[in-house]
């Protein structure tokens, strides 16, 4: 439980951090909350030469609504988001996700962006923020580029980040009126990875039909998964028990869970069905008149 030897640097700006990354010749790792990286180092599953601690970069603490987005900087912790009244009021999907990420101790240190960069398909934020149609803001030597989170998350533990780039921010569209969201998760105990989890972001029309819907699946494949078939089935439909049941079944069909000590494939797939159904019901209930 002792990491291999490494160097440590604590830059004060993003530019400095990027320069350090470039200089480390693929051996650098960004340290934010350290809640995934440090355990991996302790098990020696990760052995970076240089740890670049970004906790002292003030600009990465940005956390506010601006131009139709909620901007979540790289140093925003799960706990900050969990305690935010603004999130609680206008982003029920994010609020219900933040409450079930890991355990309260991890939530005080771990960051949303750090979780995304780790790109564990069993991470909660990938599924929740895919449902929310979030944008990833990536900063490198040439400046900033922005991409849908779907494109940022490439594969298990693999993102679209270049070796000298940092995920500096994630932007979540501010939901329009008649929107609701919810995150449903099954875990063996607090702090365990999800056995299965589903995030739903929903907007209804004045007539009650589904205008927009995002469904993200956690621990349901090699990468956080968008339940495209289920989303497509719901657009334009009235959200009732029949359409929810059908969408839940479609999400389960699309899921590609793997068997582990948390459950066999058939169980996990069925949990996608159950949780999709429950998240859709709860998202509808979260819409305020």
């Amino acid at each position: 439980m002792i990491p291999a030897a490494f160097e440590y640097a604590a830059p004060k700006t993003v530019a400095e951090a990027i320069a350090l990354l470039r200089g480390a010749d693929s051996g650098g790792k960004i340290l934010a909350g350290g809640q995934s990286l440090v355990p991996m180092m302790r098990f020696r599953l990760a052995a970076p030469n240089l740890l670049i601690d970004i906790t002292r970069i003030p600009e990465l603490r940005i956390f506010k609504e601006e131009s139709g987005y909620l901007r979540i900087g790289a140093m925003v912790t799960h706990g900050e988001l969990e305690r935010s009244a603004m999130v609680g009021e206008r982003y029920p999907l994010l609020a219900s996700t933040a409450r079930v990420v890991a355990d309260p101790i991890v939530r005080e240190r771990g960051t949303i962006c750090g979780s995304l960069v780790h790109a564990d398909p069993a991470g909660d934020w990938g599924a929740a923020l895919i449902a929310a149609r979030a944008q990833a803001v990536v900063t490198g030597p040439a400046g900033e580029r922005t991409m849908p989170l779907d494109d940022f998350l490439v594969d298990t533990f693999t993102t679209a980040l270049g070796e000298d780039e940092i995920l500096t921010e994630v932007r979540v569209p501010t939901p329009p009126a008649l929107s609701g969201g919810n995150y449903q998760k099954i875990e063996r105990k607090v702090g365990d990875f999800a056995t299965a989890a589903v995030g739903v972001q929903l907007t209804l029309s004045e007539q009650g039909a589904v205008e927009a819907v995002g469904i993200g699946l956690c621990a349901a494949g090699p990468v956080s998964l968008r339940a495209t078939a289920a989303e497509g089935m719901l657009i334009g439909k009235v959200l009732d028990d029949a359409s929810i049941t059908a969408a839940a079944a479609a999400a389960a069909t699309q899921a590609e869970p793997t068997a582990d000590t948390r459950g066999a494939i058939d169980y996990k797939r069925d949990m996608v069905r159950v949780l999709t159904s429950r998240a859709l019901h709860a998202a509808r209930a979260a819409i305020r008149a």
């Binding site: 002792i2 020696r44 063996r188 607090v190 990875f193 459950g263 069925d270 949990m271 159950v274 429950r278």
Partner: protein
């Protein structure tokens, strides 16, 4: 409910724990807090294979790591005759492997270095070549003709370790054959692990100048360690001092002597420096004493009216690669034949076959050292299976079969004599408090709506306080325990014990016993345990034996002091000794109670004004050999609701009504119950150490081996009845094990009860969501 210490302690007061201020302020002194000058660190190289021939160990790459001073292998130890060591069960165990390895994570080599990090790097650098052998994982195949022979070092060329029987098999077979109704059930108690917060570790400090070895070690039984070390390392016993500092939880894991301790001693002798070795969590879960792993088959014969008549149990016990459980010599399956429980059986027969597998050794830890948990789970589960067969309420079935209060002391068909009990009173109190009849009515309504609600009862009997020396020993050491009390001139006392607490609260409860016997405030009695140089000899703390055995020693040692103080009191009161009475915490003149002296007066006089002819001082030692075990009991009731979509079980209520005899400190008893119920909950719902077909441990860290947090843990309701032990000096029985022994069956009975409308009679632990979901699916339940 805690209150400040009053001037005069009385048994039964909820005194705050004297040890808590240091523990809750992070000022406990645990093994890893100790740093000695010149101390080196050791790390063990462990086998990745469950069964393999050791071909070659190359030390050189490790010796090349900066800071690494030595690499020790089994061959090195063989030169000293230390590559094998005796176990507490009369088997032997490899210290460092020679020839072959028998389980994953087995100790293969040790690296000693100047820093912990260098020791790690060195251990990772040792190159070991293995030649994989066929692996035996499933105990049920251990005795198959084609099974690989694991222990070719033994004379007996079989994987069977021993066969043990208890009871009258003929009489039981006859009664079973005549029974109007019989039920039979396979029940598996999975392999689990207590996994205390503090893992195991030691510092071996061989002082070359004095020739004396000090071993600081996380031990529940420091004296046993000293004696075993003397036997294994062939060191003179007076030249060994074992110190067990504050222990961060033990639950039985810290009773046995582990290979790492022996290697650390050798490393200290070789290097001339103190050597520290502390396990990682993976090493702890992967190699130290597991619990349970009992495959049981139970049969009950009964009348149609539900009167039980015969009990028959066949058990296959998976002991792993070595029989290293700490069980008394004559009792290889511990106290497993307590399995007739709280019920009056005319005949019973139990047998146990113990086998080797390619898994780590152990078997008797986790808040019950002697297989009582398995026995209690078995009988409480079987009673519910019988109730289902008879279509009878499980509460009514229990009422029909309890040993009646008037038949105590009661001798079971398997030979135990229960000291005292009042099962119906305890049972009815519990069922009344939980509102059993209302719950059954609610259940009927919910079932009509298709909801899955269950109520589970466990009305268990425990056996603790090992043990009477006529029958009980470990490696020949009789299982008495001891107390030594010194009353100082100012009337303050130091009390030392041969046991070693790990959270049980001895510093408070033993001070309460001694204080109440001597008329001293508990605050004035300092309790010390854990240093073999100062503590009297004892077998340690496990199996709920501290209060029944050392607690008895505390009371009788204090009474020995009181006898002497009485002579001093007579001297001070200027009367004859026969005129002195002990009343309300003072010595008083019979017939003139206002003429009195206190224990403090007598203590001062013992050093300043002793009666002529009386030896000065006020000290005593007492070795207490208990006449019998004590038999705590209780009724636990669980109420659960099952989510038909996910299979999740929600424990809505859990009530524990314990009877542990006379209570010394009710707050501490409640704490013990809360902790043990949380463990029982974990065992029932989430804990198991499974192995794949190659013998790979699938739960070697806290990501996979689950310990519940406050979020998962149900709210515990507790209450008590009090049936004193007739033979214990203060009527106490011990309580630490009861909640772990008694609760798993209550949880499982509740879940099976919820599923019973589907025709379900049994589900093995752990009752994970997936396992329940699968049962629901098999019975056609699909929900969202």
């Amino acid at each position: 409910m805690a209150i400040e210490a009053p001037s005069a302690p009385v048994l039964g007061q909820a005194l705050k724990r004297k040890e808590d201020p240091r523990f809750i302020q992070g000022q406990g002194r645990y093994l890893d807090d100790i740093r000695l000058t010149g101390m080196l660190y050791m790390s063990l190289v462990r086998s990745p294979y469950a069964h393999a021939r050791l071909v070659k160990i190359d030390k050189q790459p490790a010796l090349a790591v900066p800071g690494v001073l030595a690499v020790i292998t089994g061959e090195d130890l063989a030169g000293l005759g230390l590559h094998w060591m005796p176990t507490l069960a009369g088997d032997k165990q490899m210290v460092l492997a020679t020839g072959k390895v028998l389980f994953q994570y087995q100790e293969v080599a040790a690296v000693v270095a100047e820093s912990r990090a260098a020791a790690y790097d060195g251990a990772a650098a040792v190159e070991v070549e293995y030649d994989a052998l066929p692996v035996l994982v499933d105990a049920k195949h251990a005795l198959d003709p084609g099974a690989p022979l694991l222990r070719d070092d033994r004379e007996q060329k079989t994987n069977q370790i021993w066969h043990w029987e208890s009871g009258d098999s003929m009489a039981t077979a006859a009664a079973m054959a005549k029974a109007e109704v019989t039920v039979k059930q396979d029940v598996y108690f999975p392999r689990c692990h207590a996994s205390p917060l503090e893992t195991c570790g030691c510092i071996a400090d061989m002082n070359k100048a004095t020739g004396r070895l000090t071993l600081y070690v996380t031990s529940q039984a420091p004296h046993v360690y000293r004696t075993v070390l003397a036997m294994v390392a062939k060191l003179p016993e007076q030249m060994i001092r074992v110190v067990s500092p504050d222990v961060g939880g033990g639950f039985g894991v810290k009773v046995g002597v582990y290979p790492g301790y022996v290697v650390a001693v050798v490393a200290s002798i070789v290097t001339g420096h103190p050597v520290k070795w502390v396990e990682t969590r993976t090493e702890h879960l992967g190699s130290t004493a597991f619990a349970r792993d009992y495959h049981m088959n139970v049969e009950i014969g009964a009348t149609k009216q539900g009167r039980v008549q015969a009990l028959r149990v066949h058990t296959l016990a998976d002991h792993g690669a070595f029989d290293s459980q700490a069980n008394p010599s004559k009792w290889p399956a511990g106290l497993f034949n307590i399995c007739t429980g709280s019920y009056d059986f005319a005949a019973a027969f139990v047998d146990v076959d113990a086998v080797y597998t390619n898994k780590p050794p152990g078997g008797v830890s986790y808040r019950c050292s002697f297989r009582v948990t398995e026995a209690s789970y078995l009988i409480e589960r079987a009673m519910d299976v019988l109730a289902a067969e008879l279509k009878m309420d499980p509460a009514d079935l229990r009422r029909k079969n309890f040993i009646p209060p008037e038949r105590f002391p009661y001798t079971t068909p398997l030979g135990w004599t229960y000291d005292s009990g009042n099962y119906p009173a305890n049972f009815e109190k519990a069922l009344g408090l939980i509102g059993y009849d209302d719950l059954r009515r609610e259940q009927t309504e919910r079932r009509a709506r298709g909801e899955l609600m269950g109520i589970g009862i466990s009305s268990f009997t425990e056996i603790v306080g090992a043990g009477p020396s006529a029958q009980f020993d470990i490696l020949g050491l009789k299982m008495f325990d001891s107390a030594e009390i010194r009353v100082h001139p100012t009337g303050k006392a130091l009390a030392r014990f041969g046991v070693r607490h790990q959270g049980q609260g001895h510093e408070t409860t033993f001070a309460q016993i001694v204080g109440s016997e001597l008329g001293l405030p508990a605050a004035d009695v300092l309790v010390e345990e854990g240093d073999t140089d100062t503590a009297p000899y004892g077998l340690g703390t496990y199996g709920s034996r501290s209060t029944p055995v050392a607690g008895g020693a505390a009371a009788l040692c204090a009474r020995r002091i009181r006898e002497k103080a009485k002579k001093i009191a007579a001297h001070l009161l200027e009367c004859g000794e026969h005129d002195v009475e002990w009343a309300d915490g003072k010595f008083r003149v019979a017939g003139a109670p206002e003429r009195a002296v206190t224990m403090q007066d007598c203590a001062f006089a013992a050093y300043t004004n002793p009666p002529p002819g009386l030896e000065p001082g006020l000290e005593a030692t007492y070795y207490y050999d208990p006449p019998n075990f004590t038999f705590p009991f209780g009724t636990y009731v669980a109420v659960v609701d099952i989510d038909p979509g996910t299979g999740e079980v929600k424990v809505r209520r859990f009530l524990a009504v314990d009877d542990c005899g006379v209570v010394i400190n009710p707050m501490i008893v409640d704490g013990q119950i809360h902790g043990g119920l949380t463990e029982g909950f974990a065992i029932a719902f989430m804990q198991e150490i499974p192995y794949d077909s190659e013998g790979n441990c699938l739960a070697s860290n806290f990501t996979e081996y689950l310990v519940p947090t406050a979020v998962e843990t149900p709210h515990w309701e507790t209450d008590r009845t009090t049936t004193p032990s007739p033979h214990h000096p203060i009527g106490a029985k011990g309580v630490g094990e009861s909640p772990n022994v008694g609760s798993p069956s209550a949880f499982v009975n509740a879940v099976v009860d919820a599923l019973s409308p589907l025709g379900v009679r049994h589900v093995d632990m752990p009752l994970t969501r997936e396992r329940i979901w699968r049962v629901l699916r098999e019975h056609g339940v699909v929900s969202a």
